[in-house]
Amino acid sequence: MVQQQDALPVAKAISEGKKAERKLGWLLCAPAALVMLAVTGYPVLYALWLSFQRFDLKYPDQREFVGLDNYITVLGNGYWWTAFGVTVLVTVVSVAIEFVLGMGLALIMHRALVGRGLVRTVTLIPYGIVTVVAAFSWRYAWTPDTGYLANAITPDGAPLTEHASALAIVVLAEVWKTTPFMALLLMAGLALVPDDLLKAAAMDGAGPWQRFVKVMLPVMKPAILVAVLFRTLDAFRVFDNIVVLTSGAQDTSSVSVLAYNNLIKGLNLGIGSTMSVLIFIAVALIAWIFVKLFGTAAPGSDDKGRR
């Protein structure tokens, strides 16, 4: 917020009062900035430092600096790439489905004539349920004998014990859970589309589909990109659904699950931190691609953020 204030065009000669005001601004935001550095900057740097070491809590005496060895180990490991593939797959597929469904929901919510509030509230229910709780109910639903879904779809299969079907269920659980979030962001985007524009397009003879593709989508672009970016970053860190549904069995671990296993279960701070750093890099890369290549604007900023 303060930075925004700062970015305002400043008159050539700054009066004494203005100067004092700016100084005060810095002073006021300093504690927040320091806290941010301490709680986010320090752990990130510490993880980076750990990732260059062989450091296993079980063998405290054997701690040593190993340079990039951990990165070579992780990047040369099949488990890591399997998990990476799973993560990318879950991310791409779930975000794509969520986008289509979310757009549909947003249009419905936007145009709902009766009970608009009720419709919006009902749609948001899945997003309000704690992921782990929802995941447990999915797990039971897909377990043969105790669940209502497993036997309905596959008479004597156990979908959670097969690689492909288990992944499909993970994606389904993710989609069910976060489509409302997508819809909410898209609905905010829909509100940006001026009615006059649509009316004008209709006057010019554009059909509903043309109005949607040629008018609404371009106007909504910033909102769409923000929504897709947020969900992509979120989906890339998928963890709880997988842990509850399969605990990573049958090659369904995501990179986050793998990092957790190595760091918390395995107590291998070196390898685990390496994975965390790699995940951090991947997430940063995704954000960079969205911002630089697609021109996503940070929410709240103006057009200048875009290319």
């Binding site: 062989r54 296993d56 809590l57 079980k58 063998y59 405290p60 180990t73 992780v74 490991n77 488990y79 890591w80 377990t143 043969p144 004998d145 004597d156 299969g157 156990a158 959670l160 014990t161 399969t246 605990s247 990573g248 069995a249 049958q250 671990s253 793998l258 296993n261 190595n262 918390i264 279960k265 395995g266 107590l267 291998n268 390898i271």
Partner: protein, 432 residues
């Protein structure tokens, strides 16, 4: 989970002003919620903090020991999370930070090597050691030993048995192959035929594998817990597991089944055999009494005819934290918590088999433990999982490679297993 493990202790200093006290409790809860900081309540000099798994009647043992000590120590029982991973994580996290608020720790039998190597627990020596060793079964004692030194006191043990339907199979199968053949025969006859076991990708599948490896006289890890071996016995064990996985006599969700799922499968009457811990008997008595008379028990099936199996033993040990500020009291309190009287009480009320042999002969045991002789027999010829600091990593790596059991390819898997287990032992590789 606000304030878990921060119960205000009775006998603590009395806070006069009510509001202050409430604020203090709230404050403590908030600190605990961050789960990073020690949350030992203000304690008096004789407080011994016991961190143990939730056991319904453990508090009564604690109370009895406190009374017997005549005020020398006052054990406060803090409950750890219910699942093993959660228990281990809480203790590890706090020990890694050098937390002095933990005195007595509850360790699953597979964690002793790890905690000892990391220097988180104290060695038992002198009279304390002699007291623990006296009358304790060899198998459980082995699980408490690392590098030839005693690091914990066996609290309770556990061993899997074969539970079978006497009305379907008159004699329990002696070998793994015999059990599979029996189940296939029942299947042809259209009778309940499943073999229920813990086939999910977790410790449960490793337990079966270890039993089979030990029964075949094989090894996965060398005696000293430092090198991967994976010999011919391990290959035979993998073949046996694979044969069961492909025999068509397990439930569809066997590859996701843990202890309780296996128990349920058996209780619904679809299974003819179940490989599981004794807790299933108590559950059956309570939930399916009509099944109880039809069920027999025996030692787990082995690999060779005439050679009994070596069942993997489970259970828990108590250890004293290296960061404890009152180790003497902690050792003394631990001895009381695991003495014959305590173990008998826990066996009768919480269903955990004792580690002290004489307890099995107590008259009260007959009613609750009709299978106690079989348990004792299996315990005296146990298959102990290799003790190593990397037990958790080894278990994760192995369960990954053994799951799903129907797709194990024994020879190539053995080659991979040698590398990956060795990596796990040296904390070099990546855990799946």
């Amino acid at each position: 989970m606000l304030g878990r493990g921060c119960d205000q202790q009775p006998g603590g200093p009395i806070v006069r002003v009510r509001r202050t006290r409430r604020a203090a409790v709230l404050g403590a809860s908030l600190v605990c919620a961050s789960a990073l900081t020690a949350c030992a309540p203000a304690s008096s000099a004789n407080t011994v903090n016991l961190y143990s798994a939730p056991e319904e009647n453990l508090q009564q043992n604690v109370d009895r020991c406190n009374a017997e000590s005549g005020g020398r120590y006052n054990i406060v029982y803090h409950k750890l999370p219910r699942d093993a991973d959660g228990q281990r994580e809480q203790m590890v996290r706090r020990l890694a930070a050098g937390d002095t608020g933990l005195d007595i720790l509850y360790l699953d039998v597979t964690w002793v090597g790890e905690f000892a190597e990391a220097k988180w627990i104290r060695e038992w020596t002198g009279q304390d050691k002699a007291d623990v060793e006296r009358g304790t079964l060899q198998g459980p004692l082995q699980t408490a030993t690392w590098d030839g030194k005693l690091y914990a006191a066996p609290k309770n043990t556990n061993v899997q048995l074969l539970w079978y339907r006497k009305d379907l199979v008159p004699e329990p199968p002696e070998t793994w192959q015999e059990m599979i053949a029996g189940a296939q025969r029942l299947k042809q006859e259209g009778k309940p035929h499943w073999i229920s076991l813990t086939g999910a990708q977790y410790e449960g599948v490793y337990v079966h594998f270890n039993t089979l490896v030990e029964s075949a006289g094989g090894r996965v890890i060398s005696e000293d817990g430092r090198t991967a071996v994976v010999d011919d016995g391990a290959v035979q064990a993998m073949q046996a597991l694979r044969d069961l996985g492909t025999a068509g006599v397990t439930s569809a969700s066997m590859n996701n089944a843990k202890e309780d799922d296996a128990r349920q499968e058996f209780e619904t009457g679809q299974a003819a055999f179940q490989l599981n811990w004794p807790f299933v008997y108590a559950s059956m008595v309570e939930k399916k009494p009509e099944l109880v008379d039809k069920v027999g028990w025996a030692r787990l099936p082995g690999l060779r005819p005439g050679v009994p199996s070596k069942s993997t033993i489970g259970g828990a040990n108590y250890a004293v934290s290296s960061y404890s500020t009152k180790p003497d009291l902690a050792f003394e309190a631990t001895k009381c918590l695991r003495n014959p009287e305590s173990q008998k009480f826990s066996a009768l009320n919480d269903g955990v088999p004792p580690t002290i042999e004489s307890v099995y002969a107590e008259p009260e045991m007959a009613a609750e433990y009709p299978m106690r002789d079989t348990i004792l027999e299996a315990l005296k010829d146990p298959g102990v999982r290799p003790v190593t600091p990397a037990a958790q990593n080894v278990s994760t790596v192995l369960s990954k490679m053994l799951s799903p059991i129907g797709e194990i390819d024994p020879q190539p898997t053995a080659v991979r297993m040698r590398t990956e287990v060795q990596n796990a032992l040296e904390s070099k590789g990546v855990m799946p």
